[in-house]
Symmetry: D2
Subunit: 342 residues, 4 copies
């Protein structure tokens, strides 16, 4: 059986990544693509790498028909997303890739995003989209909120450890290295090739990155008490990939055991042999997440290092994984593409 | 039906690319992998990006069994390849990715590769693997010789023009820009990141690149007279991609028409709208080839620009396309993966 | 003796490169910096890599005093430049890095830049800034028009050959590969890291690049007859560097001899041993230009390959070299910085 | 006055960087260059970017005369360095860039480098080359041991804090991101462009990196008690630069104050305004080190982030700074080159 899907905000990188993945998905058909500033253009004009596909022309959201659509991927900017989604037909399954429905507490949303949420009722309904930990709820959901890409990476490293009670909750540091596509196709000086290539630096320092809202919400929920991690992202000169080096305190055997148990049956999350460190190069353009566990020479200190592709497992691949669940399809369908190396 | 395939020389980039592509091919199963210097290792140890796959352990060629194998991909270095292939069971279908069986004239082989061919009889049998132009022969062949990646790119731009008689055969210049994976996983100083990144240069200048042997053979055969092009490759700081800017003399309408007619029905070769130039970014990690045609301001001068991924359409993707034909499978099976962008 | 200089348009890449070079120039002192959109900021805020220098705060041009200023570098966009320069005090020595005063014929300016020139009288006075070929005029000039960076590269390869009459003037092809800083610090989608890195393509194809105006003017003047070359620029994923592969017809000995003779005494232009090809990596961040000469296997065909750094020899280094001449300083002063490798 | 210097091991990256810097140093003249595997070649053959310089031909160390040489830079691999240096004339001033004389305790050397030291007496004499903290000793020294590049970066961030007693000595984490030239011009698979570009990963994990020997020695000496930091280096796809994100516990004002006081008069080390994070892009190819201090949202947690160029301030620039002191020259002579951006 084939399901019809539409993608709102198809002119950005996560939109293009969705199209790339769906292109070889056996059960999904793209019947609508929106991109307000590019309405009237073909996808081949906006993303020439997709020119071999037979795709609908880009339209405005207003001009899009949702008749016969089974599921909508919403790849719009935050704030815009909540407005658009609250106006969609209520029977539609929706996977939102923006930040708008990730935080269950409206006060937290306002704190991190600087303005009140305009669709508070829907915010309550939304299921947090970290598939491996919300599988049942996602299967039943009408609205799934895709996670932040950095937030996903940190959680893959830490959730099983917090759940198992094997680390000190007050001494968690996430030093994260992110590639540039996570910033989107935005015209900003610091995203220019000449500014970024051959250099790297920390950004959103001091605990100001918005994905901390997700860390706080999720880790506190898992722990049953407030957990506030340190989180410093860095921008590195690469296009795809996130590497989170997470510094924790605990027993390395217990830590390795908790991760190994949590992911033993997972198709996309792999715990490497003890002592091995993952590389973003080894999961690029795929839906896989690699996790390494290394004991430091300082007793009781452990590094958990997680690597994933921000556009795939961190965003559009995750969205498709969730869509598969929502539509009753095999969770891995269309997502077993091998990483691209070199 | 599933066919069993083996890959000889699986520890190089073209070997890894074959595994990547076959990983989601519905009708092929990898039953043997050789890598003499890495025998005994798993593919996950040699190429950690393939660790999610259930693959045979690497063996030596000597230890590999070909019972039940339907087709062998041979991704060995030239000179080695001819020795190995001449020792394989004669009923096996073989796609060779090396240079060993590309040149039909043993004298030409010796001229470009510096020593006599040791399997001259097989060399005669081999079919040149540029799929779109040798489709029927390939379907019937036991031994297909994959083309050089640069040679493929130049031929996609030029073969239809030579065949149609629309360009001056004595004034053809191929200025080619190649990414570094074409040089393989070799430990050479000029392939180091620190040496290559942020710089670029011509190499094999003056008409010394071995792929000229293929150009001479093929273009002369198409033209029915000797054709000797100028060919200058450049190494650019990227991992995948070849861009050939081909300077020809002729009428732009005739040139565009000849290319358009030649590729109108081809699933993998696309002629862009007139005046548009392709980018390697738009075909990366895919089996597609994009061709642009642009008239110069100088009357009667035309640029034909072809872009493809050296590891996919230029090598392992081509090999798989040929294997599909040899096995009676749909030619595009497993090869419709969309390019990876950004 | 120290000369006071001002830089107009100091917030762009060529402005920053001027500051970098002047920072260790023994005879120049920067007394004024303009950057209209950044007026009021320090250079450390606009270019943190310059924070160790004691520099004037950025002002608007209107607020800048030219009292005591000996020479002005004007690194403004074209069209803006002519307006600003025509309003400067007439005794000032000016080195303009824009395109505004490169073309002596106002009709040519209008043809290539799309609108009439607004300072035609000054345009006539301006000396073309290709130092090695206009040394005497530059020494006496009040207004020097810096060349296009691509235009400089092509001319270093070709001027001596045209002057010596050793090549066919009707068969000249310049296939040029340019790094991205040549496009400036502009917020354009195609200059983003995610769009450019790992890919490359031709642009301004078909003889539409504006630097052709310079080629036409200069080559025709040298030849004493109209010369119209083919010129196809490509954008490659690097920040600095231009490599021009120039295809000519003539005798390789005569060609090598003409270049060797022309540059034998030049401090910044080096002809490599015959058959060697230059790399942009070997002149990066320096004022040097390397030229290689290679005979093709096709008789009578020769490649002349020139490499320089677009921001240094192609722009700000050239500007400083000209300023040295205009101020009576040694031509090489402050410019002998060695290339940065790796 | 001009001093004569020789460089042993001039065919590696630190050797080439020394030549680059000395090229515009007003008081030093290179009179000898060794490179055993390249003996007989010119530097232009080994490093074409240096071809504009008039340099001695490379010789073996055995063939080099030290008559009239005032100072030797030794850029040889560790283990080799101690053998060569112990055989040099004893009056020579020597700056060693290898690891051989960094660790004062022979047992520590053996622990980290895997074999006994063969020149223990000289090891005791050697002065540790972190200029800002050993200035007086270096001025008097005959043998200065250049620091590890990572070790330098971490120490710039931490020494003043340990000395001032403003941080918890038992909770120090150095998460370091290093560019690839720090690994030298070695033919290793993981240093290939195709392997490194577009990916990044931790290496030498778990407290196994040899520069920990320097951290232990120096931090313990400053603290007057054993200090053992956590240190995890990462390899990022860039050629030059080290960024150390150091996680400490203490009061941000005290921390900022200690750093500010320590470096207020230093010509090469700059503490950025509070809350600003440095970028490797802003110190590239220069001898500057930028340090940022940021308070985390978690009370009492602070990040100190240090950036420098591994080949310059981390190695050859440091060596030259020390040589200046040893020769009685101004410490900054030849080292005020501005960073290269973009």
């Amino acid at each position: 059986m084939t399901y019809n899907v539409a993608i709102l905000g198809a002119s950005g990188y996560t939109g293009a990544e969705l199209v790339r993945l769906i292109a070889t998905h056996p059960s999904l058909k793209i019947v609508g693509l929106s991109g307000n500033s590019k309405a009237g253009l073909s996808m081949a004009q906006v993303f020439p790498h997709l020119r071999h596909l037979d795709l609908p022309v880009l339209t405005t959201i207003e001009d899009m028909s949702f008749d016969g659509v089974d599921l909508v991927f919403c790849a719009l900017p935050h704030a815009t997303s909540q407005k658009v989604i609250s106006g969609l037909p209520r029977h539609l399954r929706i996977v939102d890739l923006s930040a708008d429905f990730r935080l269950r507490d409206p006060a937290e949303y306002e704190k991190w995003y600087g303005k009140p949420h305009s669709a508070v009722e829907m915010q309550k309904e939304a299921v947090y989209g970290l598939t491996e930990f919300y599988r049942d709820e996602i299967s039943q959901a009408l609205l799934v909120a895709g996670t932040g890409c950095n937030a996903a990476t940190g959680q893959y490293a830490l959730r099983p450890l917090i759940a198992a009670g094997v680390i000190d909750l007050d001494n968690i540091i996430i030093d994260l290295k992110a590639a540039v596509s996570g910033a989107g196709r935005a015209l900003k000086e610091n995203l220019l090739h000449a500014e970024l290539s051959e250099g790297y630096h920390a950004y959103a320092v001091g605990g100001t990155h918005r994905h901390l809202g997700e860390f706080d919400q999720e880790f506190s929920a898992v722990a049953g008490r407030p957990v506030h991690v340190q989180f410093t992202p860095h921008l590195v000169p690469a296009n795809r990939g996130i590497l989170a080096t997470v510094y924790v305190q605990g027993d390395v055997e217990a830590i390795y055991g908790a991760l190994d148990a949590a992911y033993a049956e997972e198709p996309f999350v792999t715990v490497l042999p003890k002592g091995e460190a993952p590389s973003t190069k080894h999961i690029r353009a795929s839906n896989f997440c690699h996790i390494g566990v290394v004991a430091d020479r300082v007793s009781g200190r452990v590094m958990v290092i997680a690597a994933l592709d921000n556009l795939t497992k961190g965003s559009s691949g995750q969205a498709l994984q969730n869509a598969n669940l929502m539509l009753g399809l095999p969770e891995t369908e269309g997502l077993m593409l091998a990483p691209v190396f070199p």
